[in-house]
Symmetry: C2
C-alpha cells in the first residue's frame, strides 16, 4: 500500500505546546504569581438554559420507543435548517433549505469540502492564518499561494489581479486578527473570484461577534456571492458549542463548475462519508434560534464583548495599535517598541504573569503582533489589563 | 476551479427509492393490507436507561460553568477510550489507549481513512457489498477489483493469490449477507495482506451480534493482524446509537508503511479535519460499558436476535438456504425456485404485504438473493413470517 506522501510535507506546529511549556516552567519557579490566561481560544461560559432544556427534552425522546430517533438525514433535520433559513432572512439573505447542510463543526467541513476539488488547483490563503487551511491543502498536495495581511492593509488584504488562483480562503471576522471586511471590500473579492472562475471558502465562524451595523454577517449579503462562495458557520463561538459540536455550511445551487453542481456534489459527499449530527445536538442547536435562546446567547456574547472592550480600552489608553475586539473575540495588537512576538510574550509572562499568543505562530506576517482573547472572566480580564497598563504606561 | 471529476463516475443507487415507490403504489391500491417491513436497516428500540441517565447527567454538566466542557481531545476522552480498551481485554485483545480514536460513526471513518492512502492503490472489495466502500474509492479515483462472495463460498470469499491489491475491505459479520468469518479464514486474509504489503479495513460494526463462541469479534484476535489491519467499530447497532452518533476506530502503532506510522497520520488527519465527538455523546457511550449498561444493551440485542431466530426458523422449515441471522441482524436468503431478487420482492409485496430488500441492489452476486432484517417488532416479525410460511410451504 502506498501512503499519501503529502503528509510528509506537513509542518508540526509547536505554538501551543511551546506556550504551555514556558508557562509551566515560569509557574514552577514563581508560585506566588497568579497567572492569567488571555490566550484562551475556547468559550468558557456554559450552554444557555434554553439549549440545556432542549437537550434534556431530546434525551427524553431518545428514551421512548415512540419518539426515539435512529438515522436522520445526513444533511440535517428540517427543523434546524428552517431555523437557520429564518436567521438568514433577518439579514435579508434568502437561502433555500436544501442549500444548508448541518455539520459537526466548521473545522470538519472546511477540511472535507476539499474532497470536491481537483488536486490541481491553486489555493490563495492570507498570512497570518488559521493553520487548518494550510494543513488540509498540504495533505491534498495542492499549490498554496499566500497573500499578505499586514499593518499596511489593516490585516484585510484585497485581491491582487496579478495572482491567479482557484480556491480562496476568507475568514471574516478573522482568526487570529479579528479584522472584519466591509461590503465594498468583500465585493472586490466576489468580483475577483467570478473573473477567475474561483470558489471562495468563506469562514464565518465569528459572525455573531459583529457589533457594527454596516458590516456584513454573511458573504451572501454581497451581490453575486452565491455564484462563487461557500459559507461555513458554527455554533461554537455563537452559542458555546465547542464541546457540543454543531455548525452549518451553505452551498448555493448557483455554484456550478464544469457542469457539476457543487450543492449536488456536497450532498453526495455527505450522504456517502457522513451520517449526520446527533439528533440531540440538533435539537439543542435549534433552541439557539428561539426568542429566549437568542436573548440568552446574546447575554453570553455581551459578556465576552465587554471583556474585549476592557482590553481595547487599555490598548487605546496606551496608544497601542490593534485590530479586532469590536467585532471579534480576538484582539490583535502590535507589540510595543518593535518587539518581536516571542520577546513580548516572555515579557508579559515574566513581568506580569499574563499569557497571550505570539502572532508569529500564525504566519510570517504575524511576527511583531500578539493575540489576546476575551474568553476569560471579567474579573481576570480586568486584573490582567490593569497589570498590562501599569507595565506599559 | 477544477472540480474532482471522479464524482462524474459515481453511480446513483435507486435501490431504496425504488422500493419505497413500489410499496407506496401497492399500498395506495390495497389499503386493507397491512404492510410489514422487514427491510429496515436501522435500530428501533430506544436508548437503554443507563445511557439516558449518562446523557442527562452530561447535559447538566454543560449547564454549569464549573463542569462545562469546551473543546475536547479530537481523538476522544480518556474515560471512553479506557472503557473500550477494557472491552477489548475481555476478548483477550490488548490495545493501547492511543490506538483508539473515538469517531462520530464507522461510516465517517471508513470514508475519511482513505485520506491517508495514495490515489494509486488497488482496492479489493467483495461483491455483494455495503455501497459506501465502492463510492468513497470512486470519489478518489482508485482502481477497484471485486471478489465474488457467492453460494459456493457461503458468501465468505478467501484470498486469491492471483489478485494483487493494496487496500482490502472485510465486513464481518457482513452487511448485507450476515456471513461471519472464523479465525482460520481471517488468518488467511491477514497472511495475504502481509504478503502483499496491503492494509485491511475491517468493518466490525456488527460484532455485538456474534452469538457463536468460536467466532472472532475483532480482527486483532488473529495473530499479526495489528501489522496490517485497521478496525472500525460502532455503537450504532450495539447500543442503538444510529441517531446519537458514536463509534471508534483502532489504528495500531505497528502499522508502518513507507516509514510512516498510520497511527500518527490518522492522529494528524483527525486533529486537522475533525473536532471530536460531543462530550455529551461520549458520556452516553461510556455508560454502555458499565455492568448495568452491558446488561441493558444485551436485552435489546437479544430482542433483535430473537426476531432473527423467528425468521431463520421459518426458513429452516421451508428448506430455504440462507446466511446470517445467528451472528447478525441480517438474514440473506436464496430466492425460491431460482427467482430473481426483484421478482421475489414483487411477489412478497403483492401476495403477503411483506417488504424486504432485493439482493441485486448490493452487487451482481446479490441477484437471486434477498435480505430480511430483525429490526421490526417481535409481533410484526412473527406475523410476517407466518404469511411467508403460508405462501411458500
Amino acid at each position: 500500500m502506498k501512503i499519501n506522501r503529502n503528509y510528509k510535507n506537513l509542518n508540526e506546529s509547536y505554538l501551543f505546546s511551546t506556550i504551555a511549556k514556558k508557562v509551566q516552567e515560569f509557574s514552577a519557579k514563581n508560585k506566588n504569581i497568579e497567572i492569567i490566561k488571555l490566550g484562551i481560544g475556547d468559550v468558557t461560559l456554559p450552554l444557555c438554559p434554553a439549549v440545556i432544556e432542549a437537550l434534556h427534552n431530546a434525551v427524553d425522546e431518545m428514551s421512548q420507543k415512540e419518539t426515539f430517533k435512529g438515522y436522520g438525514p445526513e444533511q440535517g433535520y428540517d427543523f434546524l435548517k428552517n431555523s437557520i433559513q429564518n436567521y438568514y432572512k433577518k439579514n435579508n439573505v434568502s437561502i433555500d433549505a436544501d442549500e444548508i447542510f448541518i455539520s459537526d463543526g466548521a473545522k470538519s467541513d472546511l477540511g472535507n469540502i476539499l474532497d470536491l476539488f481537483d488536486k490541481d488547483n491553486t489555493v490563495l490563503i492570507p498570512d497570518p492564518v488559521y493553520p487548518v487551511y494550510v494543513d488540509t491543502n498540504t495533505m491534498a498536495g495542492r499549490n498554496i499561494v499566500f497573500i499578505d495581511a499586514n499593518e499596511e492593509n489593516n490585516f484585510l488584504p484585497l485581491p491582487d489581479e496579478n495572482i491567479k488562483c482557484d480556491i480562496i480562503y476568507i475568514c471574516s471576522p478573522n482568526n487570529p486578527t479579528g479584522a472584519t471586511y466591509n461590503n465594498e471590500q468583500l465585493k472586490l473579492w466576489v468580483n475577483y473570484a467570478l473573473k477567475n472562475n474561483a470558489v471562495i471558502l468563506y469562514d464565518s465562524a465569528y459572525e455573531s461577534f459583529i457589533s457594527e451595523d454596516n458590516l456584513p454577517k454573511s458573504i451572501y449579503e454581497i451581490e453575486d456571492a452565491k455564484k462563487c462562495a461557500i459559507e461555513f458557520c458554527s455554533f461554537s463561538k455563537t452559542a458555546g458549542f465547542t464541546g457540543t459540536r454543531c455548525g452549518y455550511t451553505v452551498v448555493p445551487k448557483e455554484l456550478v463548475f464544469d457542469e457539476m453542481s457543487l450543492n449536488n456534489m456536497w450532498l453526495r459527499r455527505q450522504t456517502t462519508k457522513f451520517n449526520g449530527v446527533p439528533y440531540i445536538v440538533q435539537k439543542g442547536a435549534s433552541a439557539v434560534f428561539t426568542d429566549v435562546g437568542q436573548k440568552q446567547i446574546q447575554e453570553n456574547l455581551s459578556y465576552y464583548k465587554n471583556n474585549a472592550k476592557v482590553i481595547t480600552d487599555t490598548l487605546d489608553k496606551l496608544n497601542i495599535k490593534y485590530t479586532g475586539g469590536k467585532n471579534s473575540p480576538y484582539i490583535w495588537l502590535k507589540c510595543p517598541d518593535n518587539m518581536n512576538s516571542w520577546d513580548f510574550f516572555d515579557m508579559l509572562l515574566t513581568k506580569i504573569g499574563v499569557v497571550g499568543t505570539p502572532g508569529a505562530g500564525f504566519g510570517k506576517n504575524g511576527d511583531g503582533w500578539f493575540r489576546l482573547t476575551s474568553f476569560n472572566t471579567f474579573e481576570k480580564t480586568t486584573e490582567a489589563m490593569e497589570r498590562f497598563y501599569n507595565l506599559l504606561k
